[in-house]
Amino acid sequence: MREQEQLLLQQVKNSDKSAFQQLFSNFYDTLYRFVIYRIKDADLADDITQETFLRIWKTRKNLQPNKSFFSLIARISTNLCYDHFRHMEVRYRHEELIPEYGKSHFDDPELINQANILQEEIQSIVNDQLPDKCRSIFILSRIEGKTNPEIAELLDLSVRTVENQIYRALKVLKKNLKNYL
């Protein structure tokens, strides 16, 4: 997988637009979900995802094919999210933006409420308290359902590092969710 990615990156670096389309095709869905996990606004997530890929193309000469592509787009999109929040002057994002989704699997309104609150809390802790790499790994694991070896390959890390980061995330979550459990 990494070799294919490296090859594509080298071609994009040489301004090969069809390679870029392939890259886009491989990473679009994952990046979109990654962004919307933080941003929660579908239109905005779409714009940030598009802008991220556009920036990659604009700075394609600086691409380093041997480095993890997902790490790069995760970093760019996270910065774009920060730019947006700074612009909006929103301090507590998870309070301001009402999620558009949140259908529950339960019928009991009390349970629905609790499940949603817990879910939102998890989300805001992941977004606000985890360092970038830890956050990326956790999301790739829980949201994208990737195995630890898959994540390790995607981010160019060791499997041991991935595992440690996931435990770290769980520790932070457990500590911050004391009131909800």
Partner: protein, 294 residues
Amino acid sequence: MKKLDTIEKLIWERSAQIDLPPTPNKDEAWMRLSQQIDISDMDIKLEQEKNSPVNHTIWTILKPKLSYAIAFGLALIIALPIAYDSITTNTVVTEATDFHTMDLPDGSKVTLNAGSQIKYKKDFNSIHRSLTLVGEAYFDVQKGNIPFTIHTNRGKVTVLGTTFNVRARKDGFEVGVNSGVVTVSNDTESVTLTKGQMLNIDSEFDKTSLQKVSYRNYPDWMNKKLVFNKTPLSVVCGEIERTFGIIFKFTNPDLFDLSVTGVIDTQDLNTVLSTISFLTQHEFKFDGDICTIN
């Protein structure tokens, strides 16, 4: 993997049980990105050509790119997406002096002004009504349940059924509504316009202002008129260049910012030029299709 205690297990499970909105259609997203890339590459090319002695008209370079270099040697590159792209996308381009009205699959009408381009996927009206616009076009949108969306590089316009004009050119972004309700949004702001309202964003100063569509027969170009209200001469000349397919040369760059206010009938080029000459108090000299301003 280490063993998780009860709480950690609960968090582990719950953290995956989130309902995220569906991801947008990937082909459509690529179509829009592809357009942005073309625009970006074009801007860079123009920056480089700025100092060249020969002035090309922008719009002859902006042609639909249907042929990509396909490398067959390496099996890892899949040719299908590229071919798919050109088979599944309709592109309509107007050159300078062109003026073209067409029907979209849902019955909506689009009139493209000179030097403009729209792109839309062939499955338009089945699950989406969305297209990309570079330039300027007037839309008469059929009422429908599926929102009609126009993507430009400055913002997005969404309607259900209305008549309105969108101008998305390098020198500015403008949306004016003749009837119905139109929502214009970019990544930070969203504005809703109704009949008689116009949104105009100055490309240089990034100011947003809601104006009244103050003259009859908006937009001007659809009614064979050009209307200017304290418009810089460079923008005025841009419109005239596109309408008549001529090229302007300025001997004095200070003239770019000269302000023009007035209504000009565009039936005849010479009348247009004399009017501008009178309004700006400068002489125009015409030679072939190049017009020099002193």
